[in-house]
Amino acid sequence: MSETLAAPVEHGEPAGFWRTYVFSTDHKMIARQYMFIALFWAAVGGFFAYIIRWQLAHPDTDIPLLGRPIGPEEYNAFVTMHGTIMVFFVAMPLLLASFGNFLIPLMIGARDMAFPRLNMLSVWVLALASLILIGSFFVEGGAASAGWTGYPPLSAKPAYTGVEWGMDLWLLALALEFGSFLMGGINFLVTPMNMRTRGMGFFRMPLFVWMVMIASLIFLLSVGPLIAGAVMLLLDRNLGTSFFMAPGGGDPLLWQHLFWFFGHPEVYVILLPALGAMMEVMTTFSRKTIFGYRPIIIAVIVAGGLSFVVWAHHQFISGLDPRLATPFSVTTIIISVPFALIVFALLATLWRGSIRLATPMWFAVGGLAVFIFGGLTGIFNGSAAVDIYIHDTYFVVAHFHSTLFSSLFLGGFAAIYYWYPKMFGRMMNEALGQLHFWGTFLFFLAVFVPMHLVGVGGMMRRIANPGQYEFLAPLAGLNRMITMSTIFLLLSQFFFVFNFFWSMFRGRPAPENPWDGTTLEWTTLSPPPHGNWPGEVPRVYHPPYGYGLPGASEDWVPQHRPLPSGAAPRT
C-alpha cells in the first residue's frame, strides 16, 4: 500500500472544484476540512451540553429550542454523545489533525505531508465515521447511552440500556475514527522525521511539531488494545461471547483496563498539541525565546512514557485490587512533575517579556491559567485516598473540564486566532476576538468553579434528575446558576462564529507575517500557494524563536535568515 500512497503528488495548480475542495491531497485543504468537521461537531457537542445542563437545573421540563422534555434514557444518550463528540470528533480533529496537517509541512519546510493520499483517506474516513455517528441518533432505540467510556456490562447487552443499533454504530464510528487517526498519526510522525528542509535539525523544529509528533506516537502505541477491546465488545453484543460478562467467565473490569490504557494517554494526545500552540503563541507575543526548549521536549517525552502507566487511577473504586492503588497513585503524582516543568518554563518565557496582548495571547495565557487549575485538582483525584471520596462526583467532571476545556477550546482558540491569517489569508477582528475571550474565560470559570463545590457536596455524575435526592436539594440553586452560566458561555461563542465567517470574506487581507513570528510558516504567502512556497523552500540557519537578540536590526530573526554576527549562539 505504501508506495501508491507515498508517491509524490504533482505540485502544479490543482484543477477543478472536486480536486481542490473535496478530494484534495493538499495538506492545507485537508487541514481546513478537518477544521470544519471539528467546528460542526463542536456546535453539536455544545448544544448537547446545554441540554444536559438544562435537565440538571430544571429536571423534566420543556427544554427551550428542543421544545420538549427529555427522559433519563435520552439524558444518558446526550451525556454519552457529548463526551464522545468533544473528545474524538472535536479535540482530535481540531488540535491534532487540523493544525498538525496545516503546520507540520509549513514549519519544517516541506511541500506537503509524506503521504498525501493517505492524508486524504484519513479525513474521508473521519467524515464517514461522522456520518455513522449522526446516523446513530436516528436508528431505532436511539444513540448509544452507556457513557463515553462505554463500560460493560451496561454497554454489552442491549437490554440494559434499551439501545440496539446505536451502540454498535457508536463502536463502528469510534473504530473508524481510530483508523483515521492511525493513518494521520503515521503522517504526523514520518513527515517531520523525513521531510525537513536543509538545516532543519530535530532540535530546530518548532515545539508545536514536537508536540504533535509525541502526541501521535502516544496515540499509535495506546490505541491498539482498545481496538482489540472494541472487537471483543462487538462480539459480546452480537455473537453472545462473554469477554466482559461475569456470568460467562469474563470480566467487566477488563474493558476498563483496555479503555483507560488508551483513555489516559488520549488526554495527552489532546493536551500536547494545545500546549504546543500555547508555546508558539506565548513566545511570539512576549517577544522572548522560549525558556528551556530542550528541557520542555525531554519533559514531554518523559510524560508521554509515564502516561502509559497511570491508567488505573480511573478505577480506584471499580473493584480493582486495592494493592494496585498506591503504585498508580504514585505514577499519577509523578506525571505532574514534567508538566509542572513545562508550566514553569512557560511562565519563565512570559517573565520580563515585552508582552503584546492580542487575542491569541489572551487565549494562550487564559488556557494556561485554567490548565494549572485543572492540573492541581488532578492531584486530588490521583491520590486514591481522596479519590475514593470524590470519585463519580461532579468534582471529577469539573476537574477534567478544567484540563480538557483549557486544552481544546482555550488552546484551540489561541491556535485559530494565531494561524487564521495564514490559513485563510485574512485577519480576524481583534475587538470581537477579545470579547469572545472574556466571555469564554469568565463564563467558563462561572460554570466550573462552582461545579467543584457541587461535587464536594456529593452530587453524583450521570444522574438525570438531582431533584430525586433530598440531600442534593441545597445544591439546586448552584446548579441553576451553573446552567445559566453555561448558556452565557455558549452565547459568547457567537462572537467567534461571526468573526470566523465574516473575516473569511471581509477581514483585512493578512500580510505574510502579521505577528512578527520567526518560524517558517511566516515566510510564505498568506494563504500559502499549492506547494507552500512560490520559489525555493527556505533553508534554516538556527533554532526557532530568535526574539530579542542583541545585534539584530529588528527584535527578531526568522529561522531562514542567518543570525547577525555578535548575537549569542543559542540552543
Binding site: L182, G185, I186, N194, L220, G224, L254
Partner: protein
C-alpha cells in the same frame, strides 16, 4: 539519492530511510499493540482460571502445524520476491509473488476447514471464554492474512503492467514487512491456542 535532479533543499529525505518504510514500521508498531493487547488479555485469563483451556484438544495440532509451515514457507517466498526484485529477475518475482498469494489462500482454506469442524461440533465463540478468544484472535489474524493477500495481489497487478516491475517492484519490501509481521503473530497464536 534518486532525487538528485531536484534542488538539494527539496524532496531529499532527511533520514537514510525511505518514508514508505518508516510509515510501515510505525503502522506495525501500532499493530503490535492491537495483538499485544489481545495476547496479554488471553494470558491473564488463562493464568487466572485453571482448566480454562480444557477444550484446547479440539484444536488439531496437525492442522495447526501444517498451517504454521504454510505461513512460514510463504514468508520465504515473500523474501524471494524481494530478492528477485534486487536481481532484476521479473519472472522469479512474479512466480514467488503468485506462490505467496497462493500459500495465503491455503492458510485461510485450512483455517476455514477448522472453523467449519468447530462450528459443527457446537464449539462457537459463545461456548466459552476459550472459544471466544480462539475465534477472536484467529479471526483478526485471518483478516490480516486476507489483507496481505489483497496487498500482494495489487502488487502483482501493478507489476504486470508494462513498465510496472521497474516502477512498483520495490513495494515488495513494504508488503514483505507486513507479511512477516502477520507471520510472527501466528507464531505466537499457534502455541497459545493449539499446544495445551
Amino acid at each position: 539519492m534518486s532525487t538528485a535532479a531536484h534542488a538539494p533543499a527539496e524532496a531529499a529525505e532527511s533520514t537514510p530511510f525511505p518514508s514508505a518504510k518508516l510509515g510501515m514500521w510505525w503502522f506495525l508498531a501500532s499493530e503490535i499493540m492491537v495483538f499485544g493487547g489481545l495476547i496479554v488479555t488471553y494470558l491473564l485469563f488463562r493464568m487466572a482460571g485453571p482448566g480454562w483451556t480444557a477444550d484446547i484438544h479440539h484444536n488439531s495440532t496437525l492442522l495447526g502445524t501444517i498451517n504454521t509451515l504454510v505461513l512460514l514457507t510463504s514468508s520465504f517466498t515473500m523474501v524471494e520476491v524481494h530478492r528477485a526484485r534486487g536481481r532484476d529477475d521479473e519472472r522469479r518475482f512474479r512466480l514467488n509473488l503468485a506462490l505467496t498469494i497462493l500459500l495465503g489462500f491455503v492458510f485461510l482454506g485450512i483455517k476455514g476447514v477448522e472453523y467449519a469442524a468447530h462450528i459443527r461440533e457446537g464449539l462457537v465463540p459463545a461456548k466459552s471464554m476459550f472459544w471466544a478468544f480462539y475465534f477472536g484472535m484467529t479471526g483478526l489474524h485471518g483478516l490480516h492474512v486476507a489483507g496481505g493477500i489483497v496487498a500482494n495481489a495489487c502488487l502483482y497487478a501493478a507489476a504486470a503492467r508494462p513498465g510496472g516491475f521497474a516502477r512498483y517492484g520495490h513495494r515488495a519490501e513494504m508488503n514483505g514487512l507486513y507479511w512477516h509481521f502477520v507471520d510472527v503473530v501466528w507464531i505466537f497464536l499457534f502455541p497459545l491456542l493449539y499446544l495445551g
